[in-house]
Symmetry: C2
Subunit: 175 residues, 2 copies
């Protein structure tokens, strides 16, 4: 598959089969994530891969956005201490999350090529997840990715046309 | 190329050849970007593709992070009004930037497959760029991507090992 094919094949999946995803594949997704760019190459990320049914149940209970009973969940976290040490307030507040989102997109594309579905979720209770996953104070869960074999093949939601969101040189070609 | 090969081939490029990048290719990068996921599918992004030498010069003057004389720059922007209408304060403050970063990663991977180099930059003067690009008040430049043909092939900066940043179920395997 070309990269455009993979990019277009990725869907936000909200219904999963029961099959477990092999640990090896999940780790390969994380490896793809670690190859994202990061400001000053600080790689301010940690990924908690949840596959244990009991932990999954607890994470689900505090993540209303998590749908379709995924057999695995990746909780993408920022190391806020490292981000502050290397990038000050801007690093801790914004840059580390931007880095993490680029890493997460790598993860979702890698999954798409493997025939795995994913869905990025922001609707979760951060303090509860920190407690469940035993995260240290400086590790902040920023994004939850569901992962599994899709039960359905949802159509792609309508995209805005490229020409409606891209302008050359100045806004709306107002040269 | 497999997706992992593209992900690993992407480098942050800070030295470019003079050759111009065809508009068609730049628009294809944007198309790749528009296929990223976004919260509630709001697609809160706009991309200003700067190829005009005069505008490039102005953008460079206010972007200390922009290095190596790229023949093109993509200024990735959030529509803060749309993000607020659809997602409230959280949408305007954080979610739209997260969506934009996933779109930007698509753009950088698409570029890598085409043999184009990119570099994501946060070190720029936002208000100055808004003025130069004639952006409306509600359109906020969040990330600048340089784009062009790489003059060199920098080695990949060292990555943290997957096993150092990924844990199963709880932090540091503290089951």
């Amino acid at each position: 598959m070309s990269i455009m094919q993979v990019i277009k094949a990725r869907r936000s999946i909200r219904l999963y089969k029961d099959n477990k995803v092999p640990d090896k594949d999940l780790l390969e997704l994380i490896e793809a994530g670690t190859w994202a760019p990061s400001g000053s190459n600080i790689q301010p990320w940690y990924f908690i891969i949840v596959t244990d049914d009991h932990v999954l149940e607890q994470v689900s209970a505090f993540s209303p956005g998590l749908l379709g009973n995924p057999p695995a969940v990746i909780v993408a976290c920022c190391d806020k201490q490292l981000a502050f040490e290397k990038g000050g307030e801007l690093g801790r507040g914004e840059l580390c999350v931007m880095d993490l989102c680029m890493a997460s997109q790598n993860i979702m594309l890698m999954a798409a090529e493997k025939g795995l579905g994913t869905c990025p979720i922001k609707s979760f209770n951060g303090p509860a997840l920190k407690k469940i996953l035993k995260l240290p104070d400086h590790i902040s869960p920023e994004l939850v990715l569901s992962v599994g074999y899709p039960k359905n093949s949802p159509e792609a939601p309508l995209r805005k046309a490229t020409t409606d969101v891209a302008y050359f040189n100045v806004w709306e070609g107002a040269q």
